[in-house]
Amino acid sequence: MSGNLSFLYNDELTVLKLRKLYEDRGFKKFRMSKFESYDFYARNKDFLVGNRIITFTDLNGKLMALKPDVTLSIVKNADNTADRQKLYYTENVYRESKDIHEFKEISQVGLEVLGDIDLFQTVEIITLAVKSLLELDENAILEISHMGYTEGLLDCLTNDTHLRAELHKLFKEKNAHDLIKLAESNSLPKSPVNTAVDVMSCKSSNDETIENALSNALNNRMQEAVKEVSAIFSLLKKTDLDKHIRIDFSVTDDPGYYNGILMHGYVHSIPRDVLSGGRYDSLMSKMGKDKTQAMGFAIYFDALDRKLHVRNKIGTDVIVVYNENSDINILADFCNKLSADGISYNAVTKIPENICNSKVYSVDGTDVKEVTL
């Protein structure tokens, strides 16, 4: 897709490639307005990343918000009569940045499948997630987990909401030492604690991880989670994408949002995840949808700015310098020929600074010649 699109920044080019990738799999572009009613987000705050929203009063006196999230709007507008909707988006969202404690505009590209999510659809979404990462960098890893595994494990440990939240945090940090201490101080059963510690340590291969997770499964919920991941991985092995997959059952996220497969994507030289997503049926139920299954992911371009906001080509192929003595017809003919040959040019009256690799031609009277700088 590069060629004559070489004037584009790499992030712009990547977005186009991702759009093609999703369109080729039958996804339709979802367009949304920049603003939503604040009330909509206030009612669904549990499903938002962070609590801060930029608000303003519109001309009718209604409190509006700059959208902090795309998925909520997609689910809200989902067609209740369709069996399945496959949508993708390229949108900007406005969220609070933890680092600078200010609002930040974040460019997001993502996709959502709403409706029946069977095994094939799940594998399709995961495949697209890996392929999306590979468009960003060939050295990419998609980490896969299942909320059912950690939630099933927590079921064996405690029903106390506060304690579960603390255990969740320790899982996310791979903090086995403090998990053991917390379990001891709260007299939690030893067997699930040992399982938790074992699951946190990474195994040498995905097959070993699956085998280990299955042998450690303490209840039906955990077993079902491993079986689903195992079935997905078997299908991924039919492609050469499986080498980019890392299965880790200790990875967890907000159980109020996600309820099944969980994904986090990483690419070389970016210090945080650039893709995240998973199965989020609870949002569909909350929005009163008849079809209550949904899965998707988003890629956050703010993390990728330094890596991708560069151009392969800077400036035009040719600089055409003319002056008041230049024959206007010769100048026009020369420029038209360049254009017809697919050569980019910038016609100027003064040679600019930093002209990089451009060739320079001058049109003086009727004379056209290349200038050596």
């Binding site: 980490e143 940090e173 903090n175 030492h177 890392r246 210090p271 995840d273």
Partner: protein, 207 residues
């Protein structure tokens, strides 16, 4: 190559000695140079020494793959990193301290002077105590003496400084020790190398 952010000072030196023992020595670290980054190509490791409170920043932002940092810093700044090992060294306590004759009046907000705003807020929230935070950057012990605050929340190692200033530990909030942390993305791409370090470190500490 694994890059390691070490805290400047006694803890950093002690941790480097352990790294050296488990096979990650670096000759440059033994020299008296003014270098900022010390690399051992042979052992596949590079070290840099930073202010202890900055270690987690270097690791979270991926400038270092792993780092050694006190639990106090992790609780205060809550960086998004993996906490892979409790080294059990650099031990101290996060405490509430006040004048020897301090008596709490629950009817008014407690004035708390501290460097650790997040830790203090979380602790007092957990016991439903209304407080007023006074953020200080050093010489915290002065605050109750000059009646700037009722109590302080700070790290206590031996308690000698407190005693010399007629202050006492009123409550121990939590024990603190050094932790080995890893950048989440680095851990995905360098799992084996980082796990090797964690395993060897853990074995060495048990000796």
């Amino acid at each position: 190559m694994i890059s390691v952010a070490l805290p400047k000072g006694r803890l950093g030196n002690k941790v480097f000695d352990i790294f050296a023992k488990i096979g990650y020595d670096c000759d440059e670290m033994h020299s008296d140079s003014r270098q900022l980054v010390f690399t051992s190509e042979e052992n596949g490791i590079s070290y840099f020494l930073v202010k202890p409170s900055d270690v987690s920043i270097y690791v979270e932002h991926g400038a270092a793959d792993i780092g050694i940092v006190g639990k106090d810093i992790l609780l205060e700044y809550e960086p998004d990193v993996y906490e892979l090992l409790d080294l059990g060294i650099g031990k101290c306590r996060m405490c509430v301290a006040g004048k020897n004759d301090f008596v709490d009046n629950p009817d008014v907000a407690l004035r708390v002077a501290t460097k650790f705003v997040n830790i203090a807020k979380t602790y007092y929230k957990s016991i439903n105590r209304n407080i007023e935070i006074i953020k200080l950057n050093g010489s915290i012990e002065l605050a109750p003496i000059l009646d700037l605050s009722d109590v302080i929340v700070d790290i206590v190692e031996t308690g000698t400084t407190l005693k010399e200033n007629n202050l006492d530990v009123l409550t121990e909030i939590l024990p603190i020790s050094a932790r080995l942390i890893a950048n989440k993305a680095s851990y995905k791409f360098k799992t084996e190398e980082i796990n090797n370090i964690v395993t060897k470190f853990s074995e060495e500490l048990k000796k």
